[in-house]
């Protein structure tokens, strides 16, 4: 009986599998040729299939492709200048992605991975990703600052240590941040609230839009930031990396370690441990120190996975803890103080170097627990189950202790938020073996926010449920692709707002439901050229701050009023892009027109509000029609052997159609140019390079008149210098070294998107070093 059952299962499996493995000769083998050490793409590497006597050459991004293969096992030889040839045996039974990892010194066996999916995921809005080199150079910076290397991404800063990503002019609730597949839920509405994520967790940082963005939620009006850790180890053994970063300005020290393992005997059990410690002191502009700008941070995470062929489970836990000093001179009592601060050449409070953090400061903790299980549904797809819990604590300590001594002695934060979020998701994704590909899923979120101290953002509970369907299609010759996604969300929110007049809580109830969607196409007539177009619809409900803000915002020297009658914001975004690469030339142009109905913004209103501290300008959260038009443009050209020029340009026009005026607070237009020279390898020094970069930022002139206390700061040019190399240590281990000098000429400048531009200059010259030892 038992035996009969086994035979039956065996037959069933073979029937299912057999159904998809007809013997034709139309399979494609493609993938990347990647440097084993720094994971950079290798261009002009040659591939040769011995048995068939055919071959291919990798392009500027290391991609290769061989089509028209029959089922079988082939011997592939990969050669690249400076590497010994490697030979691997590859089995083809479907369209296959196979990456090759040639090495500069060849005693070791080559590791490789074959992805199950038959085709590289393409998107109708290109995914923008930090390269391995950019990742290493940005180590030590915050998540927001790291993302700045991506064209079209800027940051909204509060001083030097709080920075939020701004994508095509939009930020905060309009940008979704995915930390290890889970939407980051903290107090994202605030301008001075940066994403609570340790960038060292990330193996990859990228920005996506379009149909794949639909998966993660409705409110990704600007896009989705993906923070992706590397996959857990899939073969027995232990590896890891040790990072050290330092910077002269603020005497930054940061160290981070990561350890990956796979327990050979318990086949399929793998684990990871990771931790980061960071300490920064008062930073310096070219002329003076900034008082109370120190920072400390400690983060850790662990992951545990059990992966079998047909199923797997993965558990992840991370903690982020930080204390951030807030520049003292930016704390002002009233408009008279602000006027004095603006008129002063130097901040009114002088400082020396110290690591000490005093009031005002923020203490932030963020905790993420995630459990994920997957089940392969035969040969056709995979079913994912995800549960995650996040807890976010934000404490804000004012500059001065309360006057009352007994209360002051408690040293409590003047403001404290705690937000707890539970997320559940079930998703099914079809394997990409056919012309069509389907993804479908449902998710649900439960969230509760509480506060103590000053009345600012009310307590609330929020429940939301969403469902999505993403469908992709590609033509047989792979020249044409379509993708479309649709999502429906229902949100219920109950807000408990303290009413100081009747001295009771009042309950406000909101329900929202709406559809978001995306449709796009890619046309790739040749391997050198592609054109993409995408139309997306997205919406987001107003956040509690926009609904309930009520009173003086000390940081902004303004009285801000929310509007409890605001409706959801809705965006219609059209993006078109062309990519062209030929020999040593790369050209990418992406244009967009984002039309937003009921765009929520702070509108200045009259009269000024009279308080016991004097009169303050008044702002009301209002809704207008907005249009954000812009383009990103990047080019790369290899002039001569080893000399590469890279240019990146971002322009944006953000217009308020209702009031026929510009929108305030949008990033200025900018150029970035860099020239890199790669030296020849030495036996003990691999991939030495030197790079010089210039970033030119225009003055933001597209602002409404009289919308600000001071005009936007003047244009500036910043120079950076980078030098780096890697040193092979033992066997496959290596030490990657990157030196940098930021603000090489010690330029005095202020940036429009720094909220402290009224008070102080930006940082002066900064020498940085990043070491990464992989083992």
């Amino acid at each position: 009986m038992h035996f009969a059952k086994l035979v039956f299962v065996w037959l069933l499996v073979h029937m299912v599998v057999g159904g998809y493995s007809q013997n034709n000769c139309n399979y494609t083998l493609k993938g990347k040729i990647i440097d084993e050490h720094d994971k950079s793409a290798l261009e002009y590497a040659t591939l040769y299939i011995k048995e068939l006597e055919i071959g291919a050459v990798s392009d500027i991004r290391g991609n290769y492709k061989i089509t028209g293969l029959c089922k079988g096992t082939f011997t592939v030889v990969v050669k690249h200048v400076g590497c010994s040839p490697i030979t691997e045996s590859v089995s083809i039974s479907k369209n296959t992605i196979h990456n090759f990892y040639p090495e500069h010194h060849s005693e070791e066996l080559i590791e490789f991975s074959i992805q199950e999916e038959g085709y590289k995921e393409e998107r109708t809005v290109a995914k923008k990703e930090l390269s391995a080199k950019e990742m290493n150079q940005s180590r030590g910076k915050s998540l927001g600052e790291s993302l700045k290397s991506i064209t079209g991404v800027n940051t909204l800063n509060t001083g030097n240590s709080i920075s939020k990503p701004v994508i095509h002019g939009l930020h905060s609730d309009r940008v979704l941040v995915l930390n290890n597949g889970i939407r980051q839920e903290g107090q994202q509405w605030g301008n001075e609230h940066a994403p609570e994520i340790d960038p060292y967790i990330a193996d990859k940082l990228s920005v996506i839009k379009g149909a794949d963005g639909i998966r993660y939620g409705a409110n990704a009006i600007a896009g989705v930031v993906l923070v992706e850790p590397a996959n857990l180890r899939d073969s027995a053994g232990v590896n890891g990396a040790l990072n050290f970063g330092g910077a002269s300005n603020g005497r930054l020290g940061v160290t981070s370690a990561i350890l990956n393992g796979n327990v050979g005997k318990l086949n399929g059990l793998s684990w990871r441990l990771q931790g980061t410690l960071k300490r920064l002191g008062n930073v310096r502009t070219p002329d003076y120190y900034l008082k109370n700008t120190a920072l400390k941070e400690y983060n850790f995470s662990w992951a545990l996975g059990y992966n079998k062929e047909r199923f797997g489970v993965e558990v992840f836990y991370s903690q982020f803890n930080t204390d951030i000093g807030i520049f003292s001179a930016a704390h002002i009592g009233n408009l008279t103080d602000l006027q004095r601060a603006i008129e002063a050449d130097e901040p009114l409070e002088s400082a020396e170097f110290t690591y000490e953090i005093n009031r005002p400061f923020q203490h932030i903790e963020h905790e993420l627990f995630k459990a994920k299980a997957y089940l392969k549904t035969w040969d056709i797809g995979q079913l994912d189950f995800v549960y995650a819990r996040q807890y976010n604590l934000r404490e804000e300590y004012d500059k001065h202790l309360p006057r009352n001594d007994s209360i002051a002695a408690l040293n409590l934060p003047e403001l404290q938020f705690e937000i707890t979020t539970h997320i559940g998701e079930v998703a099914w994704k079809q394997n990409r073996n056919h012309a069509f590909n389907t993804q479908i899923g449902v998710s649900t979120i439960q969230q509760a926010n509480t506060l103590e101290g000053r009345d600012f953002i009310p307590a609330f509970v929020k429940y939301s449920t969403g469902a999505y369907l993403i469908e992709k299609w590609r033509s047989k010759n792979l020249k044409f692709e379509l993708e479309t996604g649709v999502r429906y969300d229902y949100i219920f929110q109950e807000v408990y707002k303290w009413n100081n007049w009747i001295r009771e809580y009042e309950t406000y109830t909101y329900t929202y439901n709406n559809v978001s969607g995306s449709v796009g196409a890619i046309y790739k007539p040749t391997s050198e050229f592609s054109a993409r177009v995408n139309f997306g619809m997205a919406w987001r409900p107003p956040n509690v701050s926009e609904l309930f803000a009520d009173g003086l915002h000390h940081g902004a020297a303004a009285v801000e009023y929310g509007d409890t009658n605001l409706v959801a914001e809705r965006a219609y975004n059209t993006i078109a892009a062309i990519d062209f690469e030929h020999n040593k030339f790369l050209f990418q142009l992406e244009g967009y027109y984002n039309r937003i109905n009921n765009f929520i913004y702070l509108r200045p209103t009259l009269p000024a509000t009279l308080t016991i501290k004097g009169a303050f300008p008044t702002f009301n959260y209002s809704q207008v029609e907005a249009a954000l038009t812009g383009f990103d443009f990047s080019t790369k050209y290899e002039f001569a052997k080893n000399v590469t020029w890279t240019g990146k340009t971002s322009f944006l026009w953000a217009y308020n159609l209702t009031e026929n005026d510009w929108l305030v607070g949008m990033p200025a237009n900018r150029f970035k140019n860099s020239l890199a020279y790669k030296f020849a390898d030495l036996p003990k020094l691999k991939e030495p390079y030197i790079a010089l970069g210039v970033e030119s930022v225009f003055e933001q002139k597209l602002v409404p008149n009289n919308s600000d206390y001071v005009d936007p700061p003047s244009a500036y040019n910043l120079m950076t210098l980078g030098v780096g190399f890697s040193i092979p240590t033992y066997k496959k281990q290596q030490l990657v070294v990157d030196f940098g000098i930021n603000n090489l000429l010690n330029t005095v400048y202020r940036d429009y998107l720094n909220r402290f531009r009224y008070y102080a200059d930006e940082l002066g010259r900064n020498y940085t070093i990043n070491l990464k030892l992989t083992f």
Binding site: G261, V263, G264, L266, W271, L273, W302, I332, G333, N334, T336, D337, L348, E349, E367, F369, Y391, K399, H400, P402, R403, N404, I407, E414, E418, I419, T420, A448, N449, T450, L451, E452, G453, R454, D455, F456, P458, A459, F460, V461, E494, Y496, K497, W498, N500, W501, R503, Y505, T507, G551, L552, V559, Y561, T609, L610, T611, I612, K613, G614, F616
Partner: protein, 191 residues
């Protein structure tokens, strides 16, 4: 051997994590208690400033003028914003009182300023009023300004701005350093 080592690393990691991990928000938001169960409160609120004038010669009656914004900054407009009316050619002893009337009973903030008099300074800036104002109290080193002496001249119509500066560690007897806690401008008539 290696497996045992790996497993022990894992075990240690798990123990450490659960020992320090999984923080909880003890408060559950409810319609009747809001977030933490206690109403949100602003520690530093000053709702009311009262100036009391006493004629040193005892001829004129004592007078009080006030600025009052019972719900604090923003929200509803101030409910009282008096014009200071003083007799011409008269010497007055003046004193300031600060209240937080959002509390019940009202909290006297003047006492707290008095306790931290080395960190606080009242500044009086008359314009077009024919009044000269001098602070008459001291923290031991510098003046404080809770009490002051006003001498009025001829009939005039102008303004007086009363400012309270918070100057922890930076008090130097002038109005320049520190943050502004209060800044109220009173219409002033000398009659």
């Amino acid at each position: 051997m290696k497996t045992i080592k790996n497993l022990s690393i894992l075990a240690v990691a798990l123990v450490v994590t659960f020992a320090v991990g999984c923080k909880k928000d003890d408060d559950t938001p409810t319609p009747s208690t809001g977030g933490g169960g206690t109403p949100p409160q602003e520690e530093e609120v000053i709702t009311t400033l009262i100036l009391t004038f006493v004629d040193t010669a005892g001829v004129q009656p004592n007078v009080q003028y006030a600025f009052r914004d019972p719900d604090g900054d923003g929200g509803n407009a101030p409910t009282q914003h008096d014009t200071i009316r003083l007799a011409a050619n008269t010497y007055y002893n003046a004193s300031v009182q600060l209240l937080n009337e959002a509390e019940s009973p009202a909290e006297d903030i003047t006492l707290e300023v008095q306790n931290e008099d080395d960190e606080h300074l009242f500044c009086y800036a008359p314009s077009n009023t024919n009044v000269s104002i001098a602070r008459t109290d001291s923290d031991g080193t510098y003046e404080v300004g809770i009490t002051s002496f006003w001498s009025t001249g001829a009939i005039a119509n102008g303004e007086t701005t009363v400012t309270l500066k918070h100057q922890p560690g930076v008090k130097d007897g002038t109005c320049a350093p520190g943050d502004t806690d209060i800044e109220v401008t009173f219409q002033t008539e000398i009659q």
